[in-house]
């Protein structure tokens, strides 16, 4: 399973592409596989202030609806409008065209608490047993 080394991860299966000015957020390959076919995505509006670990978006699949949590605190600068129109992008390209939203971090040090690729790999392999 694809777990890009340059990204940071949460225990709740979000990924974050962390840069000082902007953090891009999506869900992992493992998450989209567990969810199966995504049929609806609700994204946060630009300007919304998020706290780390709080629900930020909702993703609905044929199985159920799940909250997507903010990996870091900050203000939403934009959301992936393509995703609202074509929710299947989450399944097709979860690290690329299937990104959810971008935020300006208010506490950049929070990134240190996120998991690196190898720690996240361990987390999902442990859960499989």
């Amino acid at each position: 399973m694809q777990i890009p080394a340059e990204l940071r991860y949460t225990k709740t299966h979000e990924w974050a592409k962390v840069a000082p000015s902007e953090v891009i957020v999506g869900i992992t390959a493992h998450a989209q596989e567990e969810l199966r076919d995504v049929v609806y995505v609700e994204l946060p509006p630009a300007g919304k202030i998020l706290k780390q670990g709080e629900p930020a978006a909702v993703v609905e699949s044929v199985k159920a609806a799940f909250d997507i949590y903010a990996p870091m605190s900050g203000t939403v600068v934009r959301a992936n409008t393509e995703l609202s129109k074509s929710p299947q992008l989450v399944n097709a390209d979860c690290y690329g065209a299937g990104w959810f939203f971008a935020l300006t971090p208010s506490q950049p040090s929070e990134a240190e608490a996120l998991l690196a690729a190898d720690a996240y790999t361990k987390l999902i392999t442990a859960a499989a047993h």
């Binding site: 076919d37 049929v39 609905e60 044929v62 199985k63 159920a64 609806a65 799940f66 299947q88």
Partner: protein, 495 residues
């Protein structure tokens, strides 16, 4: 697939012969204001009576219903609906009443409503009930409005509702719709509310804890008294989602657990018809301190007479036209009266025994992650079948082939590949044994012939449908086809 009734339309086909008119004829325009007159006839299918009867009878025969099949749909309490309830609800002295008739002409109905409120108070220990809400979720919304009104009357601002992660999805939805901020409580390792987690989240910001007991894993919150006590210490109310009341009838009253208000789902616990879009009924009961906030009007008994009382300065107002789904309320009333106190208790005890029996049998086939002893339902995990590529979804579809309604799957989210089974008190031991036998065969098939499960259902009129397409591109309404001749030559009505 059959043609829709609209597609069966043939211009000019008519099933009714009108007798000659024996009243003086007057032009339509004199009888009906012109603004209310159509220019074109309505687009109704032109079919004969027997076309309609055959079409709908055929469709009804395809129904998977509790009248035809075992329906172990977890958390929905799909119990058998005794036909006596329907028979009495169909009596003309109830069915033909008009909601605008004066109370002097509807004393019997008012008495029934009043007594039903009293019966529900007796069952739950609450001080007062409203029968207005038309469904469980509307009951939740009504309860949350009452919670808001209560805190507002005390001049407190409490924007938060605490909800455990095992709650029904309607709970956070109702709380959010009422303008509250929802904070989720993570369950402890035993699947129950973690007192430490609850304590961490309680503050004077919290309006109420919304919980289901027994919870959606079918487990009784053993610390319920400590939980409600803790909430009350912080001035927060405790709302019980009564969806799982089928485990508690005659055994424990929610008021004794410290619950301040709750909704009951009459279409679950009290055997009124369920599914197919309703109508349902979700009465809300409250302790004495909250009674003033209940919706109006309420039925009052004055001497030996019953009347409507629309007063209520602190009331949250109306939540339903007239007095709720009265036909449904009447069915529940008949059910409660038929069983009596003892019968209700036996109902819950039988539901619990059935669930535990099934759970014990199931545990030899698949893991049951939470709880040694369940109440009215249990949740199994089909995670081990994933090794052969089989999901809970596939097993649910295969159960249809074996003649069983599929249990709830993928809920609650705390169990992976969840299958939630609630047999209710309705079923006999032989039905439960046959169901376990089917499940055992399906688990074996999952290992030997996973492709059979992937193709299921095969024995039903409709095979595996494209659920993804249905969700992404829902087509909910029939539109006349440009090629369809049926409605083309519809003449103008005034021609």
């Amino acid at each position: 697939m059959d043609e829709l009734i609209f597609e069966q339309s043939v211009p000019g086909r008519c099933g009714v012969a009108f007798p000659p008119c024996d009243a003086p004829e007057r032009p339509l325009e004199q009888l009906v204001p012109s603004a209310a007159l159509r220019q074109q006839p309505p687009r109704l299918p032109e079919v004969a009576e027997f076309d309609v009867i055959r079409h709908y009878t055929r469709l009804s025969q395809r129904n998977f219903a509790v009248d035809t099949h075992f329906y172990p749909l977890g958390s929905c309490t799909m119990k058998y609906n005794p036909k006596l309830n329907d028979r009495i609800a169909a009596w003309s002295r109830f069915a033909w009443l008009h909601p605008s008739q004066p109370a002097s002409q509807t004393q019997g109905l008012l008495q029934m409503l009043y007594e039903l409120e009293q019966l529900l108070c007796g069952i739950t220990g609450m001080a007062a009930f409203t029968l207005q809400p038309a469904a469980g979720a509307q009951g939740e919304l009504t309860g949350l409005k009452i919670i808001r009104a209560y805190h507002r009357a005390k001049r407190q601002s409490r924007p938060v509702i605490l909800i455990p992660d095992s709650a029904h999805g309607t709970n956070p939805a109702s709380a959010a719709l009422s303008g509250f901020r929802v904070v989720e409580l993570a369950s402890g390792p035993d699947g129950l509310i973690d007192l430490g987690e609850l304590k961490r989240h309680l503050s004077n910001e919290v309006a109420a804890l919304m919980l289901t007991n027994p919870n959606t894993l079918g487990l009784f919150e053993r610390n319920i008294s400590a939980i409600t006590h803790l909430c009350h210490e912080y001035g927060a109310l405790v709302y019980l989602d009564g969806a799982n009341m089928n485990a508690l009838l005659g055994i424990v009253k929610p008021a004794e657990m410290g619950v301040d208000l709750l909704q009951l789902n009459l279409h679950k616990t009290f055997s009124t018809p369920h599914g197919g879009g309703g109508p349902g009924a979700g009465p809300v009961g409250v302790i004495a301190a909250l009674a003033d906030f209940l919706p109006v009007p309420r039925v009052r008994k004055v001497g030996a007479r019953f009347r409507w009382d629309a007063r209520g300065r602190r009331s949250i107002g109306r939540v339903h036209a007239f007095y709720g789904n009265v036909g449904v309320l009447l069915r529940a009333y008949v059910y409660i009266r038929t069983l009596g106190r003892e019968g209700l208790e036996r109902t819950s005890r039988a539901a619990i025994i059935n669930a535990n029996y099934l759970k014990a049998k199931f545990s030899r086939l698949v893991p049951i992650p939470f709880g040694d002893h369940c109440l009215h339902e249990f949740v199994a995990s089909l995670k081990p079948l994933k090794a052969s590529g089989v999901t809970a979804w596939d097993v649910a579809k295969r159960l249809l082939d074996y003649g069983y309604y599929a249990p709830t799957v993928y809920f609650p989210l705390v169990v992976e590949e969840a299958v939630m089974v609630e047999p209710t008190e309705t079923e006999s031991k032989s039905t439960l044994d046959a169901f376990v036998e089917a499940m055992a065969r399906i688990v074996e098939e999952a290992r030997e012939h996973p492709e059979w499960l992937k193709l299921a259902p095969q024995r039903l009129p409709t095979h595996r449908v494209d659920e993804v397409k249905a969700a992404r591109e829902p087509n909910l309404r029939w539109q006349p086809d440009a090629k369809s001749p049926a409605f083309h030559d519809a003449p103008s009505l005034r021609a």
